[in-house]
Subunit: 128 residues, 2 copies
DNA sequence: AGTCTTCTACGAATTGTTTCGTAAACAAAC
DNA sequence: GTTTGTTTACGAAACAATTCGTAGAAGACT
């Protein structure tokens, strides 16, 4: 049984920062956040405290300035978000999602090639 | 400029029903909804009224029993949902999303083949 | 020690979503 | 025409997410 991870959009922004930077203080996270959105410091603090309550973040309170880090893996979180979206908006069809994503986005030749190779690797696995 | 479509999860459930069934009454939608969740009739009604205010649904009030239909296309809605998710959870990389989706889900050989063909068609287009 | 800054904690206001009770309009059935 | 059932409209309650002001603790600076 694996835990249900359902971050809100704001929470996901914070998780992204922590995944990229590793363990950080509220101030460090806030400084990154400030670049893209307009929010006060205590707003970021409160959000991260709530995320800690929800077990999305771990924190080290040994020092006055607490250190937070993601308590959920990027991969697992992405997996669950995708799955929910496939169920909610794509009638459960991964294929539909993938095609929509590719068709929508005007991927570069390099990207398409990368995906094609990945696909072949997977098809190969099926033959074993 | 195309309109921003941001349905909540509940709203998306209703959109899915209307996309599948076409124009329907509140009761018809509610009866489908009831199968998967537990909500009163007036809850469904209110949701659909709000969706009409938000221009997610059109309605025909010629008769006492109103007829609702989706005012946004499935394709456009799916496209926007995917794009938001790519930006919010996949660092803007469609490739990352596609690989995660494929890797996660254990797609069947047929599905993989279908996607591979789609890919080739796209790569072909790039050469024109 | 006293001042200044930084940080956490708390609580409240705001906003948005979801839920449903109740009433009024309307139609159908008796 | 009065009862019964279905529908819409309205309003309010319950809940969750977001925002931020304020207070107090902790440390740094002189």
């Amino acid at each position: 049984m694996s835990k249900l991870i359902k971050p809100t959009d704001s929470e996901l922004e914070i998780l992204n920062i922590l995944w990229a930077k590793g363990p950080s203080t509220v101030r460090e996270v806030h400084e990154v956040l400030e670049q893209s959105k307009d929010a006060g410091y205590t707003t970021t603090l409160k959000l991260m405290q709530i995320m800690h309550e929800k077990k999305l973040l771990d924190r080290d309170t040994a020092n006055k300035t607490h250190i937070y880090k993601a308590a959920v893996s990027q991969k697992q979180t992405q997996g669950q978000i995708i799955q929910r979206m496939i169920d909610a908006a794509f009638n459960g069809s991964t294929t539909q999602l993938v095609m929509q994503a590719l068709g929508n986005h005007n991927a570069s030749k390099e990207e398409l090639e990368q995906i094609r190779q990945y696909l072949e690797k997977m098809e190969g696995k099926k033959d074993e």
